[in-house]
Amino acid sequence: MGISSRFAQEHHPVQESTLSDLSRTDLQSILRYMLLTRGLEERLETLFKQGQIVGGLYRSLGQEGTAVASAWALGDGDWLAPSIRDMGALFVRGLDVRDMLRQYTARGTSLCVGKDSTTHFTVPELGLLGPISPLGTQLCVLNGVALAFKQRSQPNVCMTYQGEGASRTGASHEGFSLAAALDLPIVVWLEHNRWSFGTQSHKESAVADWLDTARMYGVPAESVDGNDVLAVYSASRTAVDRARRGDGMTILVAETYRMLGHAQHDAQKNAPPVELEEWRTRDPIARCEAELRDLGTTDEGLETIRDEVSLELTEAVDDVLSEPPPEGEDALTRVYDASELDPSVPWTRGPVSGYGDRTTHVVVVS
């Protein structure tokens, strides 16, 4: 409730560019969101080293372009379902960086009120469906959102992201297969970042061309340079328009690279230096800046963007660190929905009286 009202004000609709190529202002915003993502992750890393982060921290260094430029192709009322590595897409859709900080620092003010972390939140007001840890499941659930669009003949689309590792799960296959069978308005980014946790993906699969894994479902599929925001945007744009027209799902394979370990605890020491070197030269931010220079944006102009982002982040970190953690008893709330409960139903009364210790709760409603 509190959440939704907050977003009521904050949510700034993303303008829909009608042409499949981007204006310079579009591109500047895309750069801004990429910088915001990388900058935030760097702050989070510092906080992690200071012991201010609860649990794991997952970076998207080198992949910011796929998340940001793809989300840019969505319009009002569309839904987006990020993996834990697609933070950038969330900001494009109107999420406040504070909300990611609150998640990672387990604040009571976080979207999950401290009950879950990373991008594991669902915010209908912003059209965001979070993942759960078990991989492959999120696509299956997003199918239901797309199904609702279809049933209401509402011209909206869904976009989601999935790693090549996750694509080996049964849930992923069932999700793709059902989306294709029901012709759902969904765009799926298969993020081929060469890694799955601590293992290089080619060591865990016989797939030669990841595009084949997309083709099998009988829907349009395309392979894209995931570190080129222009390519990512236009592929997304085409797929989104196709879905919006009612022509169903598209699968896009992002060729990219996970430049850091799976999480902070993983030094990625098995990464071939040459590979890292090669991909460092394809950094999406550097390439986007080059594009903008070609379009006439000055170094001062780029400086300004960097400074604004940095300022925004400093303020956000200060704000969030001063926010309170949750109260222990809040662990008991919202297991079930209390609003529609009939008080004459015994169990809704909650804690069993008797022993007076908190372990005798039978069922708890909010």
Binding site: I132, A148, A171
Partner: protein, 329 residues
Amino acid sequence: MSELRETTYLEAIRDAMAEEMRRDDRVFMLGEDIGVYGGAFKITEGFLDEFGPDRIIDTPISEAAIVGAAIGAAHMGLRPIAEMQFIDFIAPAFDMIVNFAAKSRYRTGIGAGIVIRGPCGGGSRSGPFHSQNVESYFANVAGLKMVAPATARDAKGLLTAAIRDPDPVLFFEHKFLYRRVKEMLPVGEEIVVPLGVARTHREGSDLTIVTYGGMLYKSAEAAEKIADEDGATVEVIDLRTIRPLDTDAIVASVKKTGRLLIVHEAARFGGFAGEITAQVCEQAFEWLDAPVRRVTALDTPVPYAPELEDYYLPQVDDITAAARWLLAY
């Protein structure tokens, strides 16, 4: 006051869904062979014609995707009913139910008001994979509700309540009762039976039998037998809802009779009788005049041959014997 019609347990389930879909266009169904074919048990016969392919959705064989799509649709305010062709096939959707559906509201504040329903239980010679009772797999999972109706009225009323419930409900239909259990029900009239409230099927003062689903009838038969032959009265409580559990009803009855026998069709070890026993010990220990006993199936999978399945399943004689043992204690 609408006319009464003899309604089978199966028809009651069909009516609950059809009537609710007519009342509320947010309600829709998805599952395997429910459309063109009309469902493995013909429960959705004619639904495709009446409600159309957008609301009666034939899916690929993919229980996880079926449940997943239901969750997402519920997030959007729809009220999906996901059919498992046999409840045994809920197993491939286990992760989706336990980790996505059950924890959604707790983690994100957004609920997953879905119904997952399907035929459970033995007695129809269907072997290890078409006869299971799966409630214990989910008994420890906060966020879920579980329903197991035994009568036609309850099947209709509980399913209607389940469809309207804002949280995920697993609805277990005992296939042995589909066509064997009948009742006069008002045609087209809304019946709502609230979740979490047990029903006293038969009053008694000497012993309490707590049961649910398919075992209600064998328990009642045993109670009858004891009334006739031993002159003792047995109170039979039909839980109807397994989770949340109507502990108050159980405790009240035990405080009256002082003796408790729990009967369920699922295997014994780790079965649901354990939770009931624990709660009764916590809340009515001083009133117990005898050990809490349970009559259940054997600790084996469900065998296929009639001779084996009959031996495996709890029978009236087992219930009668345990009840007499308790009465004599």
